[in-house]
Subunit: 115 residues, 3 copies
């Protein structure tokens, strides 16, 4: 079995794939001027894109790790999440507070997804 | 191969299973009036229950992620962990501090477990 | 399929292996007097060692979780990471801030690695 690597950059790649499982990097927004809802939309779109590239989709997500720079933004993030996630195929999830790489980053999400 | 999903709720499920691996959501206590020892006991009981539901058990845990709202509670959490974990089948583990969804939540644990 | 467990200690082991995947514990430096660069070097060396013990290597890392006690140390950590990581086999990665078990610990890293 080989390892697939998607969008290798300088220090990491956007996702790896091995034995039918895709592991994404922590995705963050690119337009950091947006609020937590806008940033969550961007992050989930980035996840959609990298999963599509790997030949899979959100309906096969097994587990999601979510970091919020301020846990009080959880309900705002959850509203966007709820509009996005496949209600018939809900993943396991853990959401905690953590400062992110840039102080303007409000949310980061990584997923483990079946193929 | 199909994906099993245990206890789907509104935005997530308690655990997913794919290709012989169970991924639990971050489990937290339900009685948040308890101290970190009591909450850790509740969390580990919740993990026991969801693993049992998925047809596996703590002796097959591969990796545990532990978040403490105050890292200084680590020794208290560890005492409860030590009484619970299978000494002949210790998992890999990472424990860091993070604020959790509710300010009264003192500990959250997610595991990846073989079946 | 059996589960392999490497370096079991009192409450956890350094790595588990199941179905061709190695899950390491969060690795930290042993000489905590060193700065973030020195500690990152120690941590990555510890990861090299446990992966070697499990019969694999950094070129097969699928995903890395990195916690920094101060996210502003990210560039220092990244310099050491960049000198270490296999540029032809970059993993997915998520890096967030979190207080660690000992206030002198500046960086902790766990990886999921194919065999």
């Amino acid at each position: 079995m080989t390892i697939q690597r998607y969008n290798p950059q300088k220090i990491l790649c956007d996702a790896t794939e091995y034995n039918g499982i895709v592991y994404t990097a922590g995705q963050v927004a690119t337009d950091l001027s947006q609020d937590v809802r806008g940033q969550t939309e961007q992050v989930l779109k980035a996840i959609d894109e990298v999963l599509a590239q790997a030949g899979t989709a959100k309906s096969k997500i097994l587990s999601a790790s979510i970091w919020l720079s301020d846990i009080r933004n959880r309900e705002h993030m959850n509203k966007v999440w709820l509009a996005w996630v496949d209600p018939d195929n809900l993943p396991a999830r853990a959401t905690v507070e953590a400062k992110l790489a840039d102080p303007r980053m409000l949310v980061e999400i990584a997923v483990i997804c079946a193929k």
